[in-house]
């Protein structure tokens, strides 16, 4: 079992690192176009080592933006590493020097591979493999993109390589969709991200999606109530309070949908009290 899990994680880690190859090249090209030196490009890919952040900072510089603009655009995209750190902290417990080194590998991909498992040891294993293999590939491709390619954007589009990232993350997400509560949290996170995408600066939608986990509370509150009201249909909860139902529908459609799927939901209990 453990061997299987490790083999699986190693395979995922290497695959996702390969899926990122074209984007490493694109970053190298973008760095050259923004008049960075090769060492600065490598510095970004090794010291910053957070894809979205690197692109945001370098593209801002390339467009003639000031240092402050490039820094804030970049850091906005690394904010979500805070959440990743909280997720990974238990699995990365150990001597200080090891936590200091391990932390550099805190990226989307390492978290996604690590959290396919629950065991702390396996999580750290997947984290190191995911982060490590992406680190090597990403830096190599940055160099190749900087030195060899003059343009890689068209190639990425023509070969459909930009679909590799969402497909890889979907594959890592997939096992979580089997259980109702994680599925609801994932759906809420996806919805938050989609709604915020056109409204907020890059980086915020993914960070804010973390609040999607709060839908888990409805499941906590609903379980006991569901026992006494299993015969009620999804929509017969508040016949006497149409105003409140309507109001909830208008201001918060996702919440209303999530609640409507629960026969014994909090409103039902409030209604009984009245």
């Amino acid at each position: 079992m453990t061997v299987d899990a490790k083999t699986q994680m190693r395979r995922q880690a290497i695959s996702i690192s390969l899926a990122l190859v074209p984007f490493g090249i694109v970053f190298g090209v973008a760095s050259a176009e923004a008049d960075l030196t090769l060492w600065e490009a490598i510095g970004f890919s090794s010291l910053v080592f957070t894809g979205g952040t690197q692109f945001a900072a370098v593209e801002t510089l390339g467009d003639g933006g000031a240092v402050a603009a490039a820094v804030s655009a970049g850091l906005l995209l690394s904010l979500r590493s805070l959440a990743y750190g909280v997720i990974m902290a238990p699995a990365l417990a150990g001597p200080l020097w090891r936590r200091v080194l391990d932390s550099q590998l805190m990226i989307d991909e390492s978290i996604a591979v690590a959290t396919t498992q629950k065991d702390h040891g396996l999580r750290r294993f997947g984290y190191l493999w995911g982060g490590g293999s992406v680190f090597v590939g990403w830096n190599l491709m940055t160099i190749i993109g900087f030195l060899v390619f003059s343009s890689a954007g068209d190639l990425v589009r023509d070969l459909g390589l930009d679909a590799a990232i969402p497909a890889a993350f979907l594959a890592l997400l997939w096992p979580r969709l089997a259980e109702p509560v994680p599925r609801a949290c994932a759906a809420a996170g996806a919805l938050i991200a989609a709604v915020l995408l056109p409204l907020t600066p890059p980086g915020i939608p993914i960070l804010a999606a973390g609040f999607g986990v709060l839908v888990a509370r409805w499941f906590d509150g609903g379980d006991s109530a569901a026992v006494d009201g299993p015969t009620h249909g999804p929509n017969d909860g508040d016949p006497d309070a149409p105003d409140r139902t309507q109001g909830a529908e208008q201001t918060a459609p996702p919440e209303q949908t999530a609640r409507s799927e629960r026969p014994g939901r909090p409103e039902r209990m409030e209604h009984n009290d009245e």
Partner: protein, 102 residues
């Protein structure tokens, strides 16, 4: 020092602080069970958001294009329990085909 080097150093320092804050401050400390449960659910919500942003995101905005077909094919491949690599490759092929034909 060039603007790029200065940006690099500040962004690297800031990003590292964000990355390391959890492991360095929390370490192996045990959190209250209720909070732990939400933290356990957090990756799913964040990874789902990554799927959305990388499928339809375009800077600060939404672009619906051939990537969506690739993601749909990936979902079918996952449903058919195909291996990770196959899922990713099929998504790229589908996306490339749609672009070549469209």
């Amino acid at each position: 020092m060039s603007d790029a080097t200065l940006t690099l150093l500040i962004v690297a320092a800031g990003t590292y602080l964000f990355k390391a804050a959890g492991p360095l401050v929390l370490g192996g400390r045990t959190l209250p069970p209720g909070l732990n449960r939400l933290i356990e659910l957090l990756p799913g919500a964040l990874i789902a958001a990554l799927v959305v942003v990388s499928s339809i995101g375009d800077g600060q905005g939404i672009t619906l294009d051939a990537r969506l077909v690739g993601v749909a094919v990936a979902a079918i491949a996952l449903w058919k329990k195909l291996p990770f690599v196959v899922v990713v490759v099929l998504a790229c092929i589908a996306t490339a085909l749609v672009r070549a034909l469209g």
